[in-house]
């Protein structure tokens, strides 16, 4: 069955099916946009949280670390309840905006949490050293960004990896509508349940290629950092 599915998958990929490539494009677009939004917010807030002392900092960090591991389907449920409840007049449920929102909320704590951990643990001495050399608060912030650069890129890539491979949240808030909110993961889930293994394998292969590219990039940054 697998070999037959694989043959079907190759045929489908080579046919340059418009729907198939539309789904791939939409997946990449939404995941990228969500990662960039979460990345910009996460890097900034992660560094600010790590260099600033304020009341409730420990609790906030605990919350962020907890949300780093939130099951996507739970987050999807929360977003669905909010969009179907208090924000129902905005008609966002089962739209691409809803999927983008869910993915951004999913990725944000991953990026923020990673930045906090690396900034606090690894960069503590960097900040102390900068203080001994007379660095101002702004100097230290710029230095911390420069010193954490490999970690920033790494956490953003990890965030994208989480977004592109996620299925539960986008299924709940996007509704897996053909031509509208269907992405690679929900496509695989639907076709597998219908017994269309060839289509599922084709999409799975593409996801694997993307995962391979992501992890090759991560490996490069990791070796850069640990040199």
């Amino acid at each position: 069955m697998f070999l037959e599915g694989l043959r079907e998958a190759i045929e489908l990929l080579l046919s340059f099916d418009r729907e198939l490539y539309g789904i791939i494009g939409l997946s990449l677009f939404i995941s990228l946009l969500a990662t960039l939004t979460a990345g910009a917010l996460g890097v900034l807030s992660g560094i600010l949280i790590s260099v600033t002392n304020f009341r409730g900092k420990r609790l906030l960090k605990k919350l962020i670390f907890t949300f780093m591991g939130i099951p996507p389907v739970v987050l999807g449920l929360v977003v669905l309840l909010v969009l179907a409840g208090p924000l129902s007049n905005m008609n966002l449920l089962f739209t691409r905006t809803a999927m983008y929102t869910a993915q951004t909320l999913l990725v944000y704590p991953i990026i923020t949490g990673s930045i906090i951990i690396t900034s606090e643990k690894t960069q503590q001495k960097v900040l102390e050293t900068a203080t001994t050399l007379g660095a101002s608060r702004n100097n230290k912030l710029m230095l911390l960004i420069a010193e954490t650069k490999p970690f920033i890129l790494l956490s953003i890539i990890l965030g994208f990896s989480r977004a592109i491979s996620e299925v539960g949240a986008v299924m709940l808030v996007g509704g897996n509508i053909r031509g509208e909110t269907r992405v690679m993961t929900t496509f695989i889930a639907l076709n597998t349940s219908m017994g269309n293994y060839g289509a599922s394998i084709a999409m799975g292969l593409i996801l694997l290629v993307i995962a391979f590219l992501i992890h090759t990039t991560i490996a490069r940054f990791r070796s850069d950092f640990y040199d």
């Binding site: 001495k125 102390e128 001994t132 050399l133 007379g134 230095l143 010193e147």
Partner: protein, 196 residues
């Protein structure tokens, strides 16, 4: 001159008390004492890196040099020029001094090398170079001979002698030969703890 009175550093479990003294300007003062008596805490308090009680008075900027220094992820030259850049001074004005001090420490051939590629002794020297290049009035060195071989300790001694006319040094060290070669004044910490 560095003057301090009724200086205390408080930790959750205990308070360290330091005898009043005044360290002479543009001289080398060594801080001695057993392990754990609070030499590093004393030096950090002088550098205003730790909260303290009492009075500390001096003029100018005091830089504290860590026992295990951290170099930034850039070249040795860029590390050394970092304090110059953040003070918005012209780096070109410091190029001669940079080469001279690097040559005394025998790291002039490493200036364009990435800091992460250096050995621990070379890192120590590069970090010392960064701490003195911007000409701070006071330099607080916490066990600077750690990671240095005998030849490198002689180079550091030479560098401190070169800078002494314009710089006040306060150094924590256990190295007797290093102390004898440079010492103008010794401040001994006996370990006056006030337990809570």
């Amino acid at each position: 001159m560095i003057e301090f009175k009724e200086l205390q550093v408080t930790y959750p479990e205990f308070t360290l008390s330091f005898e009043d003294d005044a360290f002479p300007k543009n001289k080398v003062t060594f801080v001695t004492g057993r392990n754990g008596v609070g030499k590093t805490s004393f030096l950090k308090a002088i550098g205003k890196l730790l909260p303290y009680r009492g009075n500390i008075r001096y003029e100018g900027f005091a830089t504290y040099h860590f026992q295990e220094p951290i170099l930034f992820n850039r070249t040795v030259r860029e590390n050394a020029l970092y304090p110059i850049k953040i003070r918005k001074l012209d780096c070109a004005d410091f190029e001669d001094k940079l080469k001279r001090y690097a040559s005394i420490l025998h790291i002039d051939h490493l200036l364009d090398r990435q800091a992460k590629e250096l050995s621990s002794g070379e890192k120590m020297k590069a970090s010392l170079l960064r701490s003195i290049l911007f000409a701070p009035e006071i330099v607080l060195l916490d066990e600077p001979t750690t990671h240095l071989d005998l030849e490198s300790i002689d180079q550091l001694t030479m560098l401190i002698k070169t800078l002494k006319p314009t710089t006040t040094f306060v150094i924590v060290s256990h190295n007797r030969a290093f102390i004898e070669a440079l010492s103008d004044h010794v401040y001994h910490i006996g370990g006056k703890y006030v337990h809570r």
